[in-house]
């Protein structure tokens, strides 16, 4: 019997939803693919028709959430704000959307988005990184017209930003302060430092 596209889609969603609940309950490491397919009620082998690995599944969950966060940010972008505020709003929106997944974000990111792995472990993680950096690059160019006139933000600046972003995520994922407010402080001050560092990228217009 051929399975319909609709049915495939439903199964896919079911897998994601069951995996999420299991990750929350047992943790990412302790959850096996067997657990996931058992919860979803599908045959063991068929998981890999949908997701290449447990990591891919988890990263899909996170990437979906991140995309929702990005859309939320896009809808209510602050008008005429400084660079650090715009970036803050973006990352804060992403964190909010990741909130339901916080307990396993660290474990997933450690594999799917680790800056230490040579090859891209996760297609989804890599795709997110590329998309996110493209957005950030646009925002940098908007706020620093002088950068647009030249080759754009330097490789170092973009790398600095990415490590800042991962650092904030890492901090946030194990932040036990009330409503993770410490992370807001870390994010705010990190971005201020980053915006300051961009002065060296040829910005002479004195923009904040």
């Amino acid at each position: 019997m051929r399975i319909t596209a609709k049915a495939k889609q439903e199964t896919r969603l079911k897998l994601l939803s069951c995996a999420h609940k299991l990750f929350l309950k047992k943790g990412f490491e302790a959850t096996t693919t067997r657990d996931v397919v058992a919860a979803a009620g599908i045959a063991t082998g068929t998981l890999f028709n949908y997701f290449a690995s447990k990591e891919a599944l988890a990263m899909t969950l996170l990437a979906d959430a991140l995309e929702q966060g990005r859309e939320a940010w896009d809808e209510r972008r602050p008008q005429a704000s400084t660079l650090d505020e715009t970036l803050f709003a973006l990352i804060a929106a992403l964190l909010r959307s990741l909130a339901p997944h916080r307990s396993y974000v660290g474990d997933v990111m450690a594999t799917a988005m680790s800056p230490f792995t040579r090859d891209a472990v996760s297609h989804e993680g890599d795709a997110f990184r590329v998309d996110h950096l493209a957005i950030v690059r646009e925002l940098l160019l908007e706020s620093r017209p002088a950068l647009a006139a030249g080759p754009g933000p330097s490789f170092v600046s973009m790398h600095l930003y990415w490590t800042l972003f991962l650092g904030v995520l890492a901090f946030w994922s194990s932040d036990d302060s009330p409503q993770q407010q410490d992370s807001l402080a870390v994010l705010d001050q990190s971005l201020k430092l980053f915006a300051t560092s961009l002065q060296g990228d040829g910005a002479t217009d004195g923009q904040p």
Binding site: S81, R96, L184, K192
Partner: protein
């Protein structure tokens, strides 16, 4: 280097690395008096939004190290007319202390403590302390929105009909925004910078560790007490729930007839780090004075200021621990607004009894006066003090009580009266008669601060009648 410092090796390393300064003539200050006056009339923080505020406890450690070195030098060479002060290092310390800009309260207190050490207070240090406000890093609206969501559980747009994205005032540890509720009422929303509480605690702990060498000197115990006082004060200021409770307690003390108003708290829009209160519209002292008010207006508000002070103290058993003009608002309809209950001291049983003792001593003199002098200096008996010391305290009390013994309105504009108080207080501090209880510090600051305000108001007010009335009524028992 003492073994105490070995417990905090990194700070000790910093201290060991400090260069030895070149002896230079001291920067004498004879301006304790004007310093104190300016202390009482500290400019209201208006939130000059520094853009590149960076929090660094490492910087704080280094700053504290320089401070400790400088203080130790002062103590070591106290026999010399001039303590060895090195301007370069001092400037470095000032700059670094400047990076701890949120520590207004703590550093101001340190300044007061240092001001107690004669001939060791450099003018520059004092000047720099004056401008160190409690500036939390400025918060943009995107951060505010996250904080409101975290603290109040809803979006700014849902909870408020309108919300100014720009702050209209700085507050201790945060900033204040105007907003409007869905029912149309205008409110002030104070929001605290995240994580600042923990940062301050950490830096204060570092400061305390660095000042440990002072344990070797006589002033340590008192300094320790003041340090604990700072910590308590900061803990209080960080907790807006406690502030809300104090504000509501104060609010209950006044009704329309008093022409004194404390803004109501909106509990459902308040939390530990967000405080929403009714917005009062009026002028602070400098703006009020700039409009050249009539004598009648000055007297009017002066009287309200006096009335509010005694009402809070005797009926509410509370007082502003750190009064400054920002606490008072002159409303267009003639009412006096009382603001900012983050730094209010709630008198415990002993302290409340102490205020009543002071009242009795004022009226009776004699043995009661001796008892007051003893208690105010933390002595078991007045005989523990030198006659000179005892007389000075009596003189200071008498000065404080002149307006309260005077029939009818007292003219606080009188420069001679004011100067006498400055002289006496300076004398007390010069002679290092500063071993006293925290409650005394509050009273000194309160009395001095209120009188300084009255003086600048140029007001004539009947302090005696106000004091008698409020004292006789006794404390309000809260329901």
């Amino acid at each position: 280097m003492t073994t105490d410092l070995a417990r905090t090796p990194d700070v000790a390393d910093l201290i060991a690395a400090l260069p030895e300064g070149v002896d230079q003539p001291p920067m004498q200050t004879d301006e304790l008096a004007s310093y104190l006056a300016r202390l009482a009339l500290r400019p209201i923080p208006t939130g000059r939004l520094s853009r590149f505020w960076i929090l660094s406890s490492l910087q704080a450690k280094v700053a504290a190290a320089y401070l400790a070195w400088w203080l130790r030098k002062g103590f070591v060479s106290k026999e010399k007319a001039a303590a060895a002060l090195n301007e370069t290092h001092l400037k470095a310390a000032l700059e670094l202390l400047g990076s701890m800009s949120y520590l207004r309260g703590a550093v101001m207190k340190m300044g007061q403590t240092l001001a107690n050490l004669p001939n060791v207070v450099p003018q520059e240090f004092v000047e720099a302390l004056k401008v160190l406000h409690f500036e939390a890093p400025p918060m943009h609206f995107s951060l505010l929105r996250e904080l409101v969501h975290a603290e109040l559980g809803g979006e700014v747009e849902e909870l408020f009909a309108e919300f100014d994205t720009e702050a209209f005032a700085a507050a201790s540890l945060g900033q204040v925004h105007r907003a409007r509720l869905h029912d149309g009422r205008e409110v002030a929303v104070k929001i605290q910078y995240p994580n600042i509480a923990r940062s301050i605690h950490a830096d204060l702990a570092n400061m305390a560790a660095v000042l440990t060498p002072m344990r070797l000197t006589g002033g340590w115990a008192n300094l320790r007490e003041q340090f604990d006082d700072i910590r308590t004060m900061l803990d209080q200021e960080m907790d807006y729930v406690q502030e809300a409770a104090m504000q509501e307690r104060a609010r209950a003390l006044f009704d329309d007839n008093d022409r004194i108003v404390v803004p109501a708290v909106h509990q459902e829009l308040s939390s530990e780090r967000v405080l929403t209160t009714d917005l009062l519209v009026g002028q602070h002292l400098p703006a009020f004075l700039a409009d050249s008010p009539s004598q009648a207006d000055r007297d009017h508000f002066g009287q309200l200021l006096v009335n509010s002070t005694f009402r809070l103290m005797y009926r509410g058993e509370m007082c502003y621990a750190d009064p400054h003009p920002g606490n008072y608002l002159f409303l267009g309809d003639g009412r006096l607004g009382l603001l900012d209950f983050g730094c209010i001291a709630k008198l415990d049983g002993d302290q409340a009894e102490y205020t009543r003792l002071a009242g009795r001593a004022m009226r009776e003199g004699g043995a009661t006066m001796d008892e007051l002098v003893a208690q105010s200096t933390n002595s078991k008996d007045v005989s523990e003090l030198t006659p000179e010391h005892r007389q000075l305290i009596i003189d200071l009390c008498d000065w404080l009580w002149i307006p309260m013994r005077h029939s009818g309105p007292f003219d606080f504009a009188d420069p001679d009266y004011f100067q006498r108080g400055v002289d006496l207080t300076t004398e007390v501090m010069r002679k290092r008669y500063t071993q006293s209880r925290p409650v005394n510090t509050w009273f000194n600051r309160l009395f001095y601060g209120v009188r300084a305000m009255l003086h600048h108001l140029g007001a004539r007010a009947d302090m005696r009648a106000a004091e008698e009335r409020e004292c006789s009524l006794g404390p309000v028992i809260p329901e």
